[in-house]
């Protein structure tokens, strides 16, 4: 097929504005999926995605559409992750497209991710096609939203399709817009191969499958391909496209097309998103721009609640890593928690998703430590070290200067909440940059914030102080000097390494206070009194006490039910197994988790 009739596009939206539902409708209308096979949000095939309504990994689907002009078109719908943690992946998916459908909720209007994603699309020279969704809601105000798009983003929106993806209203209009507004791809099929990897996943039978957009040249079964960033060479076994459920091996892909390549690739580490695929025998001169290696931003210790499951946890992490090269982990030992792994994540959502998948798909009971960012620490001997685990934070006596990562944060909210938002950002050591009115009632605020202040629960706090109306996005800014201290927790006089964290000196006292209170709430009364202390540099700055338990007895025990009573005690003993035994203190899993949510 001539590239004239190909349309490569993605859908971008703020969370919950209806991206996946629209994707479903497009699949239906193009008969890619029969209505009866339709599963809600087909493109998101992981349970967690479906529940959270977010797309974690990009996928691409090949659709056939007969337009009103009577011609047959091929649509390649590239689904993108919708969260800031996956910004780089989003940018690579966008680079595979010529156009982006911008879905905006007809009652909510523009939100933080709407803006972030649109700017990203415009940066990649994509044609942005606005679509107003959820027009069937009583609170819908499509005209206002169109105006907002024109005034805030500055793209024409008056003739934007006004649809309801859920109710299937006006979907054809969207399809026609794709034909008329999204440019056809260009690229010379005769040039040496140049294809962009925008996603990959591990298939147990075929090895790693890579998803590519061919920019120049072509690739055929039997070709030797080279992945330019890693230099690895493979022989192509299959090349083709994906319909909603299957890989269709067409034997080749050529400039302008989107599809998959399978080449007996063993390790996902070889296939980096953003890398360029070329022909090993007739290579192109230079790789496509924009590739970078993704680095974890947030680290956390993950431990099995039951120490015997360490092997299972390792196996599960290895399996997840097959499909997620951005997840990193290495073994770590904690005195309190035993054997576990230090895991690196792209961001908070990524961390939560991984934890949830481990618990749900691999049935593991986990204890996670407080997330930590990476601190840059200069030592008195001139050396610079990066610290991702509070346990390794250097002693103040050899520490010359500490730096912490900063982010540029954008918050969008109704203007009524500006005071609350400012207060929150102030509390989190933010520096105000600017504030702009989007319209009469809504503002966007820019702040510079330390990443360590937002890794805990910033988003939750923001939501609760704006009745859920605020949306939030951030990008990395680099490092800035900071006065940091390590806060230790002592139970019955012994430091619990898994509870240590790094905190700005001005916040040490209030954090310590909250922390000991939380722990007191979550550590049950035991046989003995337990002092809970928080210390900075050996100095106790907060203390609480869990009083000794006074009554835990089966008063009556006669012949009647000795078996039952025995089982009761055995159950109690089992319950103890779920606790961590730290010296004479038993600490329940919840206590470790509670310190992750100090502001609740």
């Amino acid at each position: 097929m001539s590239t004239e009739n190909i349309r490569n596009f993605c859908i971008i939206a703020h969370i919950d504005h209806g991206k996946s539902t629209l994707a479903d409708r497009i699949l239906e209308k193009t008969y890619t999926v029969a209505e009866r096979d339709m599963e809600e949000q087909l493109l998101d095939n992981m349970d967690i995605e479906r529940e959270r309504g977010i797309t974690i990994k990009a996928r691409a689907v090949h659709l056939n559409y007969k337009a009103m002009d009577g011609k047959e078109y091929v649509f390649n719908l590239i689904d993108t992750p919708g969260h800031v943690d996956f910004n780089y992946e989003v940018s690579r998916s966008l680079a595979a497209c010529e156009g982006a459908i911008l879905v905006v909720d007809a009652s909510q209007g523009i939100e933080a991710q709407t803006l972030a994603n649109t700017y990203l699309a415009i940066e990649h020279d994509l044609e942005v096609v606005p679509v107003i969704n959820k027009i069937d809601l009583p609170s819908a105000d499509p005209e206002r939203v169109c105006e907002e798009i024109e005034s805030v983003i500055g793209i024409p929106a008056m003739d934007a399709p006004k649809i309801s993806a859920k109710a299937g209203i006006n979907i054809e209009e969207v399809l026609e817009k794709i034909v008329t507004d999204v440019p056809a791809p260009n690229g010379d099929p005769e040039k040496p191969l140049k294809a962009l990897i925008f996603d990959s996943y591990y298939d147990a039978y075929k090895g790693v499958i890579i998803y590519v957009r061919v920019k120049e040249g072509q690739v055929k079964v039997g070709d030797n391909i080279k992945l330019m960033a890693t230099g690895a060479v493979f022989n192509v076994v299959e090349a083709g496209y994906m319909d909603a459920n299957n890989h269709i091996n067409t034997g080749s892909l050529s400039a302008g097309e989107v599809g998959y390549i399978s080449a007996s690739i063993k390790s996902i580490g070889d296939t980096r998103v953003g890398d360029t695929v070329t022909n090993a025998d007739i290579p192109c001169d230079e790789a496509l721009p924009g590739y970078r290696k993704v680095n974890p931003m947030v680290y956390s210790g993950i431990y099995p609640a039951d120490g015997a499951k360490y092997g299972d946890l390792r196996e599960a992490l290895e399996k997840l890593q097959l499909n997620d090269a951005s997840l990193s982990f290495e073994p770590e030992t904690s005195i309190a928690l035993g054997f576990g792994f230090r895991c690196g994540f792209l961001g908070l959502l990524h961390m939560e998703i991984i934890q949830e998948r481990l618990e749900r798909e691999y049935n593991l009971d986990l204890i996670t430590t407080a997330p930590s960012v990476i601190y840059k620490v200069k030592l008195t001997n001139g050396e610079t070290v990066f610290i991702d685990n509070p346990t390794n934070y250097p002693d103040p006596s050899i520490l010359a200067e500490a730096e912490e990562p900063m982010v540029k944060a954008e918050v969008l909210a109704p203007s009524d909440y500006v005071g609350n938002i400012m207060e929150l950002c102030q509390e989190r050591r933010g520096t105000f940059k600017d504030m702009k009115y989007i319209d009469e009632t809504r503002v966007t605020l820019h702040y510079e914030l330390p990443l360590n202040e937002i890794v805990y629960d910033f988003f939750d706090a923001l939501k609760s102080r704006t009745k859920g109306y605020a949306s939030f996005d951030y990008e990395m800014l680099g490092y800035a000097p900071s006065k940091l201290v390590k806060l230790d927790v002592l139970l019955n006089g012994d430091i619990v390494d898994a509870l240590s964290f790094i905190v700005h000196v001005d916040k040490a006292y209030s954090r310590a206070r909250k922390l000991v209170e939380k722990l007191k709430e979550n550590i049950p009364r035991q046989m003995f009194e337990i002092p809970i202390q928080a210390a900075v540099g050996g100095k106790i700055i907060a203390r609480e006490t869990v009083k000794a338990m006074r009554k835990d007895v089966l008063a009556k025990c006669y012949g009647g039910d000795i078996t039952r009573k025995k089982k009761l005690l055995e159950k109690q003993k089992e319950g103890k197994k779920r606790m961590r035994q730290l010296g004479t203190v038993e600490v329940p899993q919840e206590a470790f988790m509670s310190v992750l949510k100090l502001d609740e």
């Binding site: 006074r550 007895v553 025990c557 009647g560 000795i562 078996t563 003993k573």
Partner: protein, 361 residues
């Protein structure tokens, strides 16, 4: 063969107390008769001449059924088993038994009474939904003594609404002056499927600290009045510790007869269906084995540590290791006592015995 105990569960009550989760049915004379016949049939199904040295009628309300049925059951026991009873007990409710009934019990060879006094304070009795008053209890105790009983136990509950150390002291002071030899004292426990398991009741009960203080006071006060503690909830004048109940804590065998009654006999623990109809209509059916290898380490430890005299550490091979980790802290906090080879719990330790025992098994 070591003699066993026999427990007869009498599953009838005039009215159900709102805190009680023992199995019972409403009294009816036909049901009671078929129940009695079934008990006798089940006795006969046990091996002939089984040696028995204690008998205990519990409930339910054993004193509710005609005394001639109690006598028939006793006769069946005497004729089928080889009974040399050291202790034959019946639980009685104040108000339900009069002098004649008590006298009849005494004449048929019953030598120990367990009286459901619960409290000497009428307000506390009303809270429990008991139908009797302290005056009824007093009469019952006096009648019992007059009928010739020299081994009388009274139940005393703690943890009641409005109960204080001072009201508890009054109850104890009143009781210890009477001709009784034994006190079983229970902390009120809210059982799941009872009317008491509701917020409006639970919120009226003393809190953990008040409970604990009352218990510690009670142990102290009973001890100083000549009732030595020999088990978590049991106190006796010297020589009046219950022989039958001791069997439970010493892992000795007993035969339980009656719906919901449990047995430990012939090396197995088993229970019979909690259903009167099934009990009366079938011969031997309805036995469910709950443990086919009783007397385990955990069981012996759990039961042995209920007793004031404690256990021999050397009888429990892994105990030493466990004590090394926690023993010091437990001793420091006065939860346990270790004398030579004997480990026992203090009153403070009894109060949290579940935690202590589960950390030692």
């Amino acid at each position: 063969m070591t003699p066993v105990g026999v427990y007869i569960h009498v599953p009838f009550c005039a009215a159900k107390c709102p805190y009680c989760d023992f199995y019972s049915e409403k009294y009816s004379s036909e049901l009671v008769k078929s129940y009695k016949d079934a008990v006798i049939r089940r006795i006969m199904a046990y091996p002939y001449r089984t040696a028995v040295d204690t008998i205990y009628f519990g409930g339910g309300t054993p004193s509710l059924i005609p005394e001639k049925y109690i006598e028939e059951i006793l006769n069946a026991l005497y004729s089928h088993f080889s009974v040399k009873s050291l202790e034959t007990t019946i639980e009685v409710n104040p108000k339900i038994v009069n002098y004649n009934k008590l006298s009849a019990y005494h004449n048929m060879g019953i030598n120990r009474l367990s009286i459901g006094v619960q409290s000497c304070n009428d307000k506390e009795l009303a809270f429990l939904g008991r139908k009797h008053s302290w005056k009824n209890s007093l009469e019952t105790i006096e009648n019992a003594a007059r009928a010739g009983f020299e081994n009388i136990s009274c139940d005393l509950m703690i943890g009641l609404e409005g109960q204080t150390i001072s009201s508890l002291r009054n109850s104890i002071n009143t009781l210890v002056k009477l001709p009784i030899q034994h006190i079983s004292s229970y902390m009120l426990k809210i059982e799941e499927n009872t009317p008491f398991n509701c917020e409006s009741i639970i919120s009226r009960l003393p809190d953990e600290d008040a409970y604990a203080d009352m218990y510690l006071f009670m142990v102290e006060h009973l001890n100083s009045n000549g009732f030595a503690q020999y088990e978590i909830s049991n106190f006796a004048r010297p020589g009046f510790e219950s022989i039958h109940n001791n069997k439970y804590w010493q892992c000795k065998e007993y035969i339980g007869i009656g719906p919901s009654a449990h047995s430990y006999f012939n090396g197995k623990r088993y229970t019979s269906d909690i259903n009167l109809e099934k009990f009366t209509s079938s011969e031997n059916a309805g036995y469910i084995i709950t443990d086919d290898n009783p007397g385990s380490y955990e069981e012996r430890l759990m039961l042995g540590l209920r007793l004031k005299k404690g256990i021999k550490i050397s009888d429990f091979p892994e105990l030493d290791k466990k004590l090394q980790r926690l023993g010091k802290e437990m001793l420091k906090n006065e939860l346990i006592e270790i004398k030579d080879d004997v480990l026992s719990l203090t009153a403070k330790g009894f109060l949290i015995s579940n935690s202590i025992i589960s950390s030692l098994i």
